[in-house]
Amino acid sequence: MKTTLGPIELEVITGTIRSAEVEIEAAVERAARSPMIRDQHDYRVGLYDAKGRKLTGRSYGSLVEPVFEFFGDDINPGDVFFWNDPYNSSGSCGHVPDLCTTVPIFHEDRLLGFAQVFGHHDDIGGCVPGSLPVQVRDQWGEGLVVPPAKLYDRGVLNETAFRIIERNSRLPEHLRGDIDSEIGACQLGSRRLIELAERYGVETLESAFDSIIDNCAETIRRELLPKIADGVYTFEDYIESDGFTRKLFAMRITMTKTAEKITLDFTGTDPEAEGPINWAIDYCEGRFVRKWLGPVLRCLADSPERAAEIDINEGILDVLDVRFPEKGTLVTPHFGRPTGLRFFILIRSLGIFAGVLAKATGGKMPADHETIRIWGMHSRETDGKLSLFREVLGGGGPGRPWADGSDVVHIVPNSRNLPAEFSEQRYPVLVESLALQTDSAGAGKRRGGFGYDKRVRALRDCFLLSNADRSELAPYGVNGGVAGQPYGVSIESDGGGPRSLPGMVDDVPVRAGDLVRLWTTGGGGWGDPLDRETELVHYDVLCGLVTPEAAESEYGVVVTGTGNDLVVDADATERLRDERRRGRDTLGMFDRGEHFRKVQSAGGLVWPEGWSDPDDWPAVTG
């Protein structure tokens, strides 16, 4: 059945491409071998048209441009393109453990598009297992770097290249299995596009691609942009350490919003770092980072349900532009600078974009949340084998106008924590508590989500690792909301009190019987805590999530009694709240927490010339 494009074809094609994205994801998970992919779900998939435009939009993706740049028209059925080079892939790969596999899709002799999978692999060499060294000064110490290459040329495997790649991994079998699974998954996705071409004809399919991309741009323009006031806005946020130096590494943006477009300028961002927190995104008109940041705009949809429906595909490029400073900053690093831990700045960039949007929308954006940190314990089994207990722990979600933050969420979809019953079977540990950290959520009319309070007793001598930012600075609160609590980790030995550790450590000795305690970040709050409904504060106290002391100090709510007899003293609360409102200055749009205020008053924050305090902005209340 060959047809021209109408609503029926468009709906079926759109739906099929969306479900194909889910299918490709399932195929990757089914056959991949790295736990980072299988269990932590750290991979992304995408379908693209023949021009390299992204059609799918559940998640961000890599890019197809490196194929055009390196191979021009030399694209044939049976080819498989492969790379992980952060500096030679149009900015499409942030760090070397992200391996990217791209397969061209042909219908008869015509190039229809591309299917792509890129994922975080266990090991691609470098100076530490896992290929994410903290103390590394260049890219060559981080692992094997592969520029865009044909792993298969017209169906024929480049065995030599494959062997070199495999030989450079500490887990060659995992690596090979992962790559095979990714190629298989791309081929499955390819079949879906080919079936659509057979059903409706190539021309109809290609017009549908145009419509899918136009509809994304149109949805953003019609539904989301009108909620942002035209103008120029600035914001910034910081990383605490680059592995060598503890100081504030600032990322800065200036947003210019017009009726039709948003332009983000990263000028003012701090110079590149010695350690691996750089992020090379100033390639190919910043296409990667534009698609990465675009989904933040979904927070402006009319409801969270509507937000979840809006796919952000190539259409975002029509409405979101970027400008970069000269070479030599955190986001424009010189070739070869290390990038392994760029996930801190990656996550920070979302928060900074959300921050300028908060200013431009009268505070109608979620607060900040920090959701990626890795912790673990490693030791030697009696037979000498390495036992590595490693986990990605989420943090409290952001407070937002429509709801409190969700507790202990992880930004990577479907990523899971480790059940205590699994951990104890597998590793020499006793999980004494897996709880939510009392008072960790940033206060607000809509408070942040709570972070973890996890307590694990070591049953054998071992070493602790923690890989976390936001251990001093806290996720910021918005529109009068208060910052959440930062991350922390401590060790308590028999007879001694807890010893606090920095967020970034590799190998702190832990003795059998010691208790390791971790508490992860609470989400920033949204809105004035004094406006929070007293019954909600009462309920949080009833549940033990907020202490009576915090109810009073943060929310101005006085409670008495305990258990089923806990009640709010309405009169005292009203008096206290009135008093607080009268006694305070105008509420600011942002609160970055206690530690930030200390650093700032100690002169630890230096703005570049012509840059003024971006936090100098009032909250919009009432």
Partner: protein, 686 residues
């Protein structure tokens, strides 16, 4: 007369289907009666009485009643959450708040996604001082006084249903059982479910959720089943009253009420069993079922006529880890509404017109376009349905579609065909969930289509998926009730028992399997099945050491008990390769995680009754204009299914009409009837 009449009752949203089959004569009696939402037992009894009247028999001739019910599912879907409490080990009070820390779907949804409310609000969760370790040994004794005071507080706060989930209770149920005893004595009216009874399997969050769903549905299921059983007993004396479970087997109503979480798929399971039985008659082994109801569609993939169970079922975001038939549900059915979405997109479902007001053409007040109305507009239906009881209003449907199509400058027929195509694309995505997502190609399977609207859409679904054959069983609207007639008593037993597979492990594993087998034999004998008639199938969930997920396998027929461990290990490597495309046989150590036993008590099955051979070419009963997409209006043959004999052949484009369903055969499909009356449609080479 002897008690030879087996009666099956399938309660659906709109109708309760009842079938009586006489085991001696083979006579079949089929009845439909309106469902009763308030008290489903009334419709159950009315239906049985109607069947008895039709058969001209009394209650004393009933051999057994087999029942598929949606009581448990409705309680979950209707969020009957009030007054549920939870007891956990000290340190784990936030277990269901934390869940597994996952945010669904896209990257960055954590910004706007809102955590859904929990089944038990945090203030109704209490910690109990006690602790076991993973091998079941006691690390800290149970504080009984603390248990009683905690539950006293919960009861005072209005808790009437309580789940108990202590850490590592799968390895040693002692503390949970003690709590069960204490509560029975101190709080006799409290409904209690213990996680070590519901699901003795590791992973505390999933076990807690399964336990909570069990206790949540318990009062509803017990009340309903007790009442229905009592009413039956009053009329017929003691007789087996068997309830379909999610695993495709039945148990006594009493046993079902003990662990009602096993009833969550009681409704759709019958259809899958019926589809398997039809395929068996047709000599087909590998099928995908397509059960299209009013608001949703259930699909399942069946190989070698054997049900595949999964313990990964998620109902309303809640994981339920007990073994269930692997069924995917899609939110489009015959009553699904068509509407204009964002950017002028054509959308179908998930909102439905339901039974009331229903589709426009049913004349019950419906005014919005539905999938059923689209079929009416295209000319698929006769002037009336269900044997003349339902007079259709095609003109009104047409005029609504005329307006609806004007949104895109399309005619009523063009947009009606489009609505079906979009509905079908949704069902296609559901089938991919049970096939390609599990490494299977739908092209290798036959589609078995049933439910009211299944046969209407089947060929279109098949075309999408590259499937070349479709089977429509006789009476496709009643297949679920028929499926209840061809089931066995089945109970599943599981125990988490983590060990690496190595020499000497046999000696540890065997006693656990034997213990599960003994439990199976005992409980089936309580169901009135003697030990000799009980079939016991060992199975296990295994994984490669270092992996975080398991593969579930059973021992193939014919393997002796001594070789069980070797057999499950070999099956594991093969199944791993099949699902994931690789195995580490010989390279990586294998670990047992759970040991399983399924106990089966075979029930005799009614013989399938054949249809008479055809006596020559079938003549169409009528001719009618039918609209086909890309072709337009075409004068088509309309056949009556009752006039098709074994061996009858017809060619598309045509429509086959019968009581309760309509089969659409497009031009590139042909159909024939087999000796059991199955209509087998085959796609002709393009």
């Amino acid at each position: 007369m002897a008690n030879t009449l087996r009666i099956s009752v399938d309660t659906g949203g709109t109708f309760t289907d009842v079938i009586g089959i006489d085991g001696e004569t083979g006579d079949v009696h089929v009845v439909k009666t309106p469902s009763d939402r308030e008290d489903p037992s009334r419709a159950l009894l009315t239906g049985i009485e109607k069947v008895l009247t039709q058969a001209n028999r009394g209650f004393d001739s009933v051999e057994m009643v087999v029942h598929g019910t949606t009581t448990a599912t409705n309680a979950v879907l209707e969020h009957e959450f009030g007054g549920i409490g939870l007891l956990v080990t000290e340190g784990f009070r936030h277990i269901i708040e934390i869940a597994r820390q996952s945010v669904p779907d896209g990257y960055g949804n954590s910004f706007f996604w809102v955590k859904p409310p929990r089944i038990v609000p945090l203030h109704l969760v209490r910690e109990v001082p006690e602790r076991l370790t993973y091998d079941g040994s006691v690390h800290r004794e149970l504080d009984e006084a603390a248990v009683l005071s905690a539950v006293r507080e919960l009861v005072d706060a209005g808790v009437t249903r309580l789940g108990v989930c202590l850490l590592h209770s799968y390895a040693n149920p002692m503390h949970e059982q003690r709590i069960g005893e204490l509560l029975k004595e101190a709080f006799p009216g409290l409904f209690v479910s213990l996680s070590s009874t519901v699901l003795p399997e590791y992973r505390e969050y999933e076990r807690a959720m399964t336990t909570l769903l069990d206790v949540m549905v318990k009062p509803y299921c017990r009340t309903y089943l007790d009442r229905a059983h009592q009413e039956l007993r009053a009329r017929s004396g003691e007789l087996p009253f068997l309830i379909m479970q999610s695993n495709g087997g039945v148990v006594s109503a009493r046993a079902a009420g003990e662990k009602p979480v096993t009833m969550l798929l009681s409704g759709p399971a019958g259809g899958v069993l019926g589809a398997i039985e039809s395929a068996r008659g047709a000599g087909i082994k590998n099928i995908i079922t397509l059960d299209v109801g009013g608001t949703s569609t259930d699909v399942a993939l069946i190989e070698d006529l054997t049900i595949r169970l999964t313990s990964e079922t998620v109902i309303e975001n809640y994981p339920v880890k007990i073994p269930m038939i692997d069924i995917a549900t899609v939110g489009t059915g015959g009553g699904s509404l068509a509407w204009v979405g964002p950017n002028g997109a054509l959308k179908v479902g998930p909102k439905s017109a339901g039974a009331v007001p229903g589709p426009i053409c049913y004349r019950r007040g419906g005014e919005l376009p539905t999938v059923t109305d689209a079929a009416a507009v295209l000319g698929y239906f006769p002037a009336s349905l269900v044997g003349g009881d339902l007079l259709l209003d095609r003109a009104s449907a047409h005029s609504v579609f005329h307006e609806f199509g004007a949104n895109w400058d399309l005619s009523a027929e063009e947009i009606a065909a489009g609505v079906l195509e979009v509905a079908v694309a949704g069902q296609v995505a559901g089938i991919r969930q049970v096939s390609t997502l599990k490494g299977r190609d739908p092209g290798d399977y036959t589609l078995v289509a049933f439910g009211g609207a299944g046969p209407l859409l089947a060929t279109e679904v098949a075309d999408f998926l590259g499937m070349t054959s479709v089977l429509v069983p006789p009476n496709p609207g009643n297949l679920s009730a028929f499926g209840l007639q061809v089931t066995d008593v089945k109970r599943d037993y599981v125990r988490t028992f983590v060990r690496q597979v190595a020499d000497g492990v046999d000696a540890e594993v065997t006693p656990v399997w034997q213990e599960l087998e003994r439990q199976g034999r005992d409980e089936l004998s309580e169901e009135g099945i003697n030990a000799a008639g009980v079939e016991l199938i060992r199975g296990a969930d295994l994984r490669y050491v270092g992996e975080g997920y398991e593969v579930s396998v059973s021992i193939p027929a014919g393997v002796s008990n001594e070789d069980s461990l070797a057999a499950v290990t070999a099956e594991f490597h093969a199944e791993h390769d099949r699902i994931y495309g690789f195995s580490y046989e010989g390279k990586q150590e294998v670990e047992i995680v759970n040991l399983r036993v399924q106990a089966i008590g075979r029930l005799h099955r009614p013989e399938l009754v054949g249809v008479p051979a055809s006596t020559g070419p079938v003549e169409p009963a009528a001719r009618r204009e039918v609209y086909w997409r890309g072709v337009g209006q075409q004068d088509c043959a309309i056949y009556q299914r009752s006039e098709l004999g074994a061996g009858s052949r017809i060619s598309g484009p045509c429509v086959v009409e019968e009581y309760g369903a309509t089969v659409v055969v497009p031009a590139h499909w042909a159909a024939s009837t087999d000796s059991f009356g199955n209509l087998i449609m085959v796609r002709r080479q393009a």
